[in-house]
Subunit: 199 residues, 2 copies
Amino acid sequence: MPKPVLDFWFDFASVYSFLASMRIAPLADAAGVSVRWRPFLLGPIFASQGMKDSPFNLFPVKGQHMIRDVQRTADEIGVGFRWPDAFPQSSVLASRVALVGLKDTWGEDFSRAVFHAEYAENRVISESHVIADILTKLKVPVDATFASAQADDIKTELRDLTADAAKRGFFGAPTFTTADGELFWGNDRLEQALRWAKK
Amino acid sequence: MPKPVLDFWFDFASVYSFLASMRIAPLADAAGVSVRWRPFLLGPIFASQGMKDSPFNLFPVKGQHMIRDVQRTADEIGVGFRWPDAFPQSSVLASRVALVGLKDTWGEDFSRAVFHAEYAENRVISESHVIADILTKLKVPVDATFASAQADDIKTELRDLTADAAKRGFFGAPTFTTADGELFWGNDRLEQALRWAKK
């Protein structure tokens, strides 16, 4: 019997997506669920819902708390964390490169490394040299990958994923969806989404 | 050694406070933590942060999802749930009566019964006959309790709790606070708050 599938929708700009990216692989393995990584862009979705900035910045009291909340969870799962000087960061380049890698073998490792660079190493993931460094560490050819990432099919794929996310009623990230159309929002719903996928 | 203490701040208007109220007693017992129930009013806090209605109503896409989210969690914990026809409901009367009960032995049972009436039985908890029914079932004298609930000391206590919540930077409910001043927001942080309280 094929494994049940859970789609993991993430935006590299989203710090709770960072936490989910660090947790999902072992939890899904233990649950016997396959995960499909789905980068998308929250910006256009927030904008269509009347939000012109990250909720962290729009609701400062809540935003300050959320940084503390992320710190506590990062400590519990044993992952480094520091709030980046630049927030939110544009995730377009990283998402396109991730889509190239997800058709190959290195997409998930790349995605985790991008999240770690942004949320543990205070690097700016919209800068191409930062992405190039990550690719180099993964022994992925930089120039060819950048060329693929800027090709029309990848640009279209990221737009389509974002349009699909909007159509499904997303309003944040990470979001998990199941084959039967159920939607779970937030790193803290990952375990529940895995249980649902197995039903 | 005395048990560590966790403060459980809730608003009867808050549906995630309902879920927490149904979960907290057995989890805290298992963790060896004492819980102090702290009713407060979210309305003035939301208003001071520029929100004039529940976030469920202000962000309708998210609000619709949250109803589904509550349903799934209620199903998992085995608690009945139906979204009430009236939302949000004024929690002033119920909170004052709860404060009377929390000085006696019946405050927690009363609080759970109020949440259940509102979020499982479609009753309107701002109506005094609904509160009277709950008191009667708990064999608590109705008239004397209503008189106590409308006395100045209880009114002041609820105002003071709400002012304290605002001062601590609350922005939602339920909120859990520990003796060392840590703040946890949301039913989904209850387990983490209990772990912290024990540290």
